[in-house]
Amino acid sequence: MFHNLGRLLRYRGLIQSLVARELKARYRGSVLGFFWSFINPLLLLLVYWFVFSVVLPGIRPIDVQPYALFMFCGLLPWTWFSSSVLEASNVLIMGGNLIKKVLFPAEVLPFVTVFANMIHFFLGLPIIAAALVYFAVPINWLDLLWLPVIVLVQLIFTLGLALIVAPLTVHFRDLKDILGNLMTFWFFATPIIYPMSLAPEGGKWLLDLNPFTHLAISYQEVLFYDGPFGHWKWLLALGGASIVLFLAGYFLFDRLRDSFAEEV
């Protein structure tokens, strides 16, 4: 396994060019092209803003201002996460031709989906930056240094999950559909459209069990709230757990690798 893990480094050129291809191919032929990477998260934000500011203004937390910016801090990383996992569940089947007909390292495929979605996430960051400036949110520069750490933890966590989901879907095609619904539930079980402080006392421990809660809170604390970043212990713990998840995912992937060419 560790031998194969080492091979991953050799594939970085391949991963790089496949990510580039993915990004290029995604918007090829559409009028706005690459701008969709900016527009998509903005439109998504607009939908949620509409729901919680116009349709259901009563639910909206009063003390969180500006609410749209708060939501965006969680929504953007969530989009990266959920798109990656959902796409990863399909990636081996979509790449069946490669796996069956070419000597191709299959683990490259889930990596490519996660990295490609990460690039979209990065492209959304300037929107947050602009909003921060616009709303004149006080920024604690020291806290901002934590941002790369949060991104790294999320990356490892997402990769781990992608490596588990991708090979299992090959054997159980239903997983793809189950995942779609699971992700919707997961979204609402994460403090993204509501702050953690609004969660009922009894349900807090449940939210704490949700790994993405800590990623969302970390993003919110670093980008949205002023004051020192107090969630770092949780974040580092999640980082450790993510590494274990990643290794477990890679182990599973490696075990099932030989079956891909026949099952895809």
Binding site: G13, K100, L103, L168, L175
Partner: protein, 434 residues
């Protein structure tokens, strides 16, 4: 001599799922606790059984065999795409597998970008692809289209580009799976030239093909796979001949059983008073009053054995057993020969050849001998009939007998006149001119 490919008692077992298992889902697997056991094979199918093969470096090996004999599985094992169930496969040097051309192409992006990504997938570095880029594009003859998205390519262009990239990986071992059928004549020749160049440079080639001529011309050795096992290996000509004989035997059986089926069907549906169907409609059938009955028809080759496959130009005899319960005075024997498209190649009868019928009683055998079966390769069907001079049928067998003409020459048409070429001394050929 070092071996480029060593296959040591390799077996490959594919798993097949019973119907019940096929629809197993994660939920049901979890509920019944069979998650782990479902990931294990239950019903199995052996694609390869105990295959051993050693290919010395620089050799070109042709793998032949009928569909489903395990040729492609063997190639995939050598390429490392699948792992053997038991046994070992070892390959020395860089492999390039031409199993499916352009397998990694993304339809939305340009040919240029695809060449880079495909090259990197096949193990080249970005710099190597840059260096070889012009050569690849030139080989694929796609200079004008290289910046168009691949989805706009014709299938030929797609294949050519895939081939050009794969061949320019500069492998030590080249695996080819029936890919020469893709391009036009010109491109096929280019590919063959490229293979010849590979051979000159001492590369190893493993070629899976149904083109037996290619194996004979091109390979140092041939391997004949059948039912997942090596049936013969060695000199290409010898192996190909052995294979052809085997194919012929299979064809014999196939034709014989097909004919028997057609006759059974007409036997069941026979209505002796029925009007004959339109003579120009090429459907099988049998009709007639049976005052004279055709009991049996056999085809015979030069050796006098019953056969269904004949070499072009050989002798063929049609033996027709006939029987008349009562003496008959008015009768004509006829034979018609049709090709697979239903075109009448030849037809004659005793009346046309001015033989006047006199008397027939009891049982006997009529033999129609064709001394030289001057037909091109293909499948032919026979009409055999006995009728009155005015056409009233006693027993008409329409297209109920099939035979095949085989030939090493791929000439076209129906009839092959006896011929020869004559050339002046200043026009010379090399090759097997007789």
């Amino acid at each position: 001599m070092t071996h480029a490919i060593e296959i040591d008692s390799v077996s490959k077992v594919y798993r097949r799922f019973a119907r019940r298992r096929q629809f197993a889902t994660l939920k049901s697997a979890l509920l019944s606790g069979s998650l782990i056991s479902d990931l294990r094979p239950d019903e199995t199918f052996s694609a390869l059984r105990d295959v051993s093969l050693a290919v010395p470096q620089g050799q070109t090996i042709g793998v032949i065999g009928p569909n489903g004999s395990g040729k492609s599985t063997l190639l995939k094992l050598v390429a490392g795409i699948t792992k053997p169930t038991s046994g070992t496969v070892s390959v020395n040097g860089r492999i390039s597998a031409l199993i499916e051309l352009g397998a990694g192409f993304h339809p939305e992006i340009s040919g240029r970008e695809n060449v880079f990504i495909n090259g990197i997938m096949l193990g080249l570095s970005k710099r190597e692809v840059t260096r070889k880029f012009d050569e690849i594009v030139e080989f694929a003859q796609l200079e004008d289209f290289i910046d168009a998205p691949v989805k706009t390519y014709s299938s030929g262009m797609y294949m050519r580009l895939g081939f050009a990239v794969a061949i320019n990986v500069d492998p030590d071992v080249l695996l080819i799976d029936e890919v020469l059928a893709v391009g036009d004549q010109g491109f096929t020749h280019k590919c063959l030239d490229k293979f010849a160049e590979f051979r000159r440079r001492g590369k190893t080639i493993l070629l899976v093909t149904h083109s037996l001529g290619l194996v004979e011309r091109f390979c140092d050795e041939a391997v004949w796979l059948d039912g997942g096992q090596v049936k013969a290996t060695g000199d290409p000509k010898r192996v190909v001949d052995a294979y052809l004989i085997d194919v012929e035997e299979d064809e014999e059986q196939y034709i014989a059983s097909g004919d028997a089926k057609a006759r059974d069907a007409t036997e069941a549906a026979v209505d002796e008073t029925a009007d004959p169907p339109d003579m120009f409609q090429a459907t099988e059938g049998r009709w007639g009053s049976r005052e004279i009955e055709i009991v049996d028809v056999t085809l015979e080759g030069e050796d006098g054995d019953a056969s269904h496959v004949f070499p072009s130009g050989a002798r063929m005899s049609i033996r027709v057993r006939v029987k008349a319960e009562q003496p008959v005075a008015d009768f004509v024997f006829g034979i018609g020969l049709f090709n697979a498209e239903g075109v009448c190649c030849y037809g004659t009868n005793t009346d046309l050849e001015e033989l006047k019928s006199d008397r027939m009683a009891g049982e006997g055998e009529v033999v129609f001998t064709i001394d030289t079966l001057d037909l091109v390769a293909g499948t032919y069907k026979l009409d055999v009939a006995v009728h009155k001079r005015d056409g009233y049928p006693y027993d008409y067998h329409r297209l109920l007998y099939t035979f095949r003409v085989k030939s090493r020459t791929n000439d076209i048409g129906i009839f092959r006149p006896r011929h020869r070429w004559t050339f002046p001394t200043n026009i010379r050929f090399t090759g097997p001119l007789e």
